[in-house]
C-alpha cells in the first residue's frame, strides 16, 4: 500500500467518525495554539527587550546599590567612577515615588533628580515640548513628562508651563511616618516619548535638579544610583569590569548587555514555565487521541478482520491507524499554529492593558503597554513536530493493538 492510498484510507475512516475526529483534532489545536501563542509572546518580549537596549543606552553602565550591601552611593562614588578610563560622564541621580498635586488633582509618579544637561545622554529621544529643562542650580524648578502634564484620560491638563505644583513625599523615620511637601514651578513639559526609555516610563515621570532632589527627599548625600556614560559602546563592558573591581559586590553594575542577559534569563525561565504549561495541554490532548483511537480500534474490529482477510499485513494495519494519528497531529498542529498567532495578538493586547492598569496605579516599574508577539519559523516547525510526535505516540498503542487482532476473532464480531 503506497502513501497516497494510505492517506486516502485514513482520511476516509476519519470522515466516517467526523465529530470524534473534529474533537480529537480540536484538543491538539488548543494545545498547539496555546504553545504557539505563549511562545510568540515571550519571543516578542525578547525582541522588544533586545531593541530597547540595542538602540538606547548601549554606552550606559548603570550602578545601583547592592542587594544586601550597606555601602552608600555618594558624590565620592560618582567622582571615583568619573576617573575610570573610558568614562565620559557619570551622572548620579536620586529617584523616588512622590505625589504631585495641582489644581485639586493628584498623581503618584516617579520623580528623578539629576543633572539635566545630560538627560539626553540617557534618553536620546527625549525632547522638550514647552519651556526648558531645569538648570543644575535651580532648586524649585520641575520638568513634567507629557502624560503627567496632559493626562490622556482627562480633558483638562494637569498643570501648565509656569504653574505651581505641590510635591509631597512620605517616608518612615524612627517608626514615624513623615510627609514633606514643597512647591515647584513647572519649567518645562517634555514631548511625548511613546515608548519607555531604559524601562523608565519617561512620559509619566517628573525631573528636577540633583540638589533640589537631595534636599527635598532628604537623602543625606545618598544617591539612588549612578548612570555612567562611556566614550563608546565598546567601552561599556570594560568600564563595568573596572567598577566591579573597585567596589566588588557592594554595587550592582549593569551594562545594557548584562541587563539584556539578566532580563532574558528571567524571561527564559518564565517562557520555560509557560511552555511547559502549554505542552501539558498537548499531553492532555494525547490522552484524548489515545482514547479516541482506542475506541475506534474496538469499533472497527470487524473492519480490521476484513482487511486482514483480504491481505493486509500487520504493518499495514499499524500504518492505517498510525496514519490517522499522524493526520490528527498534522491538522491539529497546523490549525494550532494559525490559532496561536491570533491568540498571541489577543493576549498581547490584554497583557498590555493589565500592565497599563497596574502601572497606572503604582506609577512605578515598567510601563510597556503593548509588546507585539513575534513568531518564528522555528517555533512553528517545532510546535508542528511536537504535535505530530505527541499524536503518533498516543496512537502507537491503539495501532499496535489493532495490528495484533486475530482475524478469526475479529471476523466473528458483528
Amino acid at each position: 500500500m503506497n502513501v497516497p492510498d494510505l492517506l486516502g484510507y485514513s482520511l476516509g475512516a476519519m470522515r466516517e467518525r467526523k465529530l470524534r475526529a473534529i474533537l480529537t483534532i480540536a484538543m491538539v489545536v488548543i494545545g498547539a495554539g496555546l504553545m504557539t501563542a505563549l511562545n510568540g509572546l515571550t519571543t516578542g518580549m525578547y525582541q522588544y527587550i533586545g531593541d530597547q537596549f540595542g538602540t538606547l543606552g548601549a554606552n550606559v553602565v548603570m550602578v545601583l546599590p547592592g542587594m544586601d550591601s550597606t555601602t552608600r552611593i555618594t558624590e565620592q562614588t560618582a567622582s571615583v567612577i568619573r576617573q575610570i578610563n573610558g568614562v565620559k560622564i557619570s551622572i548620579p541621580y536620586v529617584q523616588k515615588v512622590a505625589t504631585v498635586q495641582s489644581a485639586g488633582t493628584t498623581a503618584s509618579i516617579l520623580v528623578t533628580g539629576s543633572d539635566q544637561r545630560y538627560l539626553n545622554e540617557i534618553f536620546p529621544n527625549l525632547k522638550v515640548e514647552e519651556g526648558t529643562l531645569v538648570s543644575p542650580q535651580d532648586s524649585i524648578g520641575i520638568v513634567l513628562g507629557h502624560s503627567v502634564a496632559y493626562p490622556p484620560d482627562k480633558a483638562r491638563p494637569f498643570a501648565r508651563l509656569g504653574s505651581v505644583v505641590m510635591v509631597s513625599f512620605t517616608t518612615v523615620k524612627e517608626k514615624q511616618q513623615v510627609t514633606v511637601k514643597r512647591s515647584f514651578v513647572v519649567r518645562g513639559i517634555l514631548a511625548e516619548m511613546g515608548t519607555s526609555g531604559m524601562f523608565l516610563p519617561v512620559d509619566k515621570m517628573a525631573f528636577m535638579s540633583l540638589p533640589a532632589a537631595t534636599s527635598f527627599f532628604d537623602t543625606a548625600g545618598d544617591y539612588s544610583g549612578v548612570n555612567v556614560i562611556t566614550s563608546g559602546p565598546e567601552k561599556a563592558e570594560q568600564v563595568a569590569v573596572e567598577i566591579r573591581r573597585l567596589y566588588g559586590r557592594s554595587f550592582e553594575v549593569y551594562t545594557s548587555k548584562t541587563m539584556i542577559q539578566l532580563i532574558q534569563n528571567i524571561l527564559g525561565a518564565f517562557s520555560m514555565f509557560l511552555g511547559s504549561v502549554a505542552s501539558v495541554s498537548l499531553i492532555v490532548a494525547s490522552v484524548g487521541i489515545f482514547a479516541g483511537l482506542y475506541t475506534s480500534v474496538m469499533e472497527r474490529t470487524r473492519e480490521i478482520g476484513l482487511l486482514k482477510a483480504i491481505g493486509f499485513k500487520k504493518r499495514g494495519i499499524l500504518g492505517v491507524f498510525l496514519c490517522e494519528a499522524t493526520l490528527i497531529g498534522i491538522i491539529g498542529g497546523l490549525l494550532g499554529d494559525l490559532l496561536g498567532v491570533g491568540l498571541g495578538y489577543g493576549m498581547a493586547v490584554i497583557a498590555g492593558q493589565v500592565r497599563g492598569e497596574f502601572t497606572g496605579e503604582l506609577a512605578e516599574g515598567s510601563v510597556i503597554a503593548y509588546v507585539p508577539p513575534a513568531f518564528t519559523v522555528e517555533n512553528f516547525l517545532f510546535i508542528m513536530a511536537f504535535s505530530i510526535a505527541v499524536s503518533m505516540l498516543a496512537g502507537a498503542y491503539p495501532a499496535w493493538r489493532a495490528s495484533r487482532l486475530d482475524p478469526v476473532v475479529a471476523l466473528r464480531k458483528d
Binding site: 503506497n2 476484513l306 482477510a309 491481505g311 486475530d406
Partner: protein, 232 residues
C-alpha cells in the same frame, strides 16, 4: 504432472482449549480439492466447518496437520507470506458486513489491489469490469448502504475476484439473503467458476445451496462423515 490436487489437507487438526478441556473442532481431516471444483461444506453448528474454512483461508493456524496448496505447505509460511497468500490467491465472501460502508462500491472492490500495490488506473479499470460482470455497472459510485442485500453480496463477489484468485472461500455467502436472491448469487458464482475455473468452497447449512455444488463435504464432530458427489 497433474497428479497433485490444488488443495490437500493432511490430518488437519484444530483443538480449542476451553478451560482445561480440549475441544477438537477439527479432527484429522484429509480432504483433496481439485482445480476448477465448486464444492460446499455442510454440517450442523459446531461440526467444524468454519474452522476448516478459516484454515483453508490461512486466517488461523492448525494445532497439527498440513494444508498443501499447489503442493506447498501453507503453514510453513510466515505471517506476512500468509497475508500475501490471502491477498493474491484467495478471495473471501462473508455472510454479512463484507464491505466498508464509508467508501464507494468501486473502492471496495478495488481494495485488494490497493494492498497488492496495483496502480490506480489499472485497479479502477478492473474493478469496473468486475462490477459490470456482476451486474452492477450502473452503481459503481454508490455507497454500499444504498444497495440491497443481494447487490451487496454481488459487490463482495466482485471484490473476491479482484486479484484473480485461485480459490474463493464463502462463509454462508447467502445466509442473509432471501431464497430467490440467494439462488441468484449462487448462480453468479457458478457461472464464474465455469468461465474462469476459479475454485469455490462454500460453507453453508442451506441444502439448496449445497445441491447446486459439484461435491458436498459433510462434517460432523470435526470429521468428514460423508462426501457426496452431485449429479452434473
Amino acid at each position: 504432472m497433474q497428479s497433485q490436487p490444488l488443495i490437500r489437507t493432511e490430518k488437519l487438526t484444530k483443538i480449542y482449549k476451553i478451560g482445561s478441556v480440549d475441544f477438537p473442532a477439527l479432527d484429522h481431516v484429509d480432504l483433496e480439492i481439485e482445480a476448477g471444483e465448486f464444492i460446499s461444506i455442510v454440517g450442523p453448528s459446531g461440526s467444524g466447518k468454519s474452522t476448516l474454512l478459516n484454515l483453508l483461508g490461512a486466517l488461523d493456524r492448525p494445532t497439527s496437520g498440513h494444508v498443501y496448496v499447489e503442493g506447498s505447505d501453507l503453514f510453513r509460511k510466515d505471517e506476512n507470506q500468509l497475508a500475501d497468500f490471502r491477498n493474491i490467491k484467495l478471495g473471501f465472501i462473508f455472510q454479512a458486513h463484507n464491505l466498508l460502508m464509508r467508501t464507494s462500491v468501486i473502492a471496495n472492490v478495488a481494495l485488494p489491489a490497493v494492498i497488492a500495490g496495483e496502480s490506480k488506473a489499472k485497479r479502477m479499470k478492473r474493478a469496473r469490469e468486475l462490477l459490470e460482470k456482476v451486474g452492477l455497472g450502473a452503481k459503481i459510485n454508490r455507497k454500499p448502504t444504498e444497495l440491497s442485500g443481494g447487490e451487496q453480496q454481488r459487490v463482495a463477489v466482485a471484490r473476491a475476484l479482484m486479484n484473480e484468485p485461485l480459490i474463493v472461500l464463502g462463509d454462508e455467502p447467502t445466509g442473509n439473503l432471501d431464497t430467490k436472491t440467494g439462488a441468484e448469487i449462487v448462480a453468479l458464482m457458478k457461472s464464474i467458476n465455469q468461465e474462469r475455473g476459479t475454485v469455490f468452497i462454500l460453507v453453508t447449512h442451506n441444502p439448496e445451496v449445497a445441491n447446486e455444488t459439484q461435491r458436498v463435504v459433510h462434517l460432523r464432530d470435526g470429521r468428514i462423515s460423508q462426501v457426496e458427489v452431485m449429479p452434473a
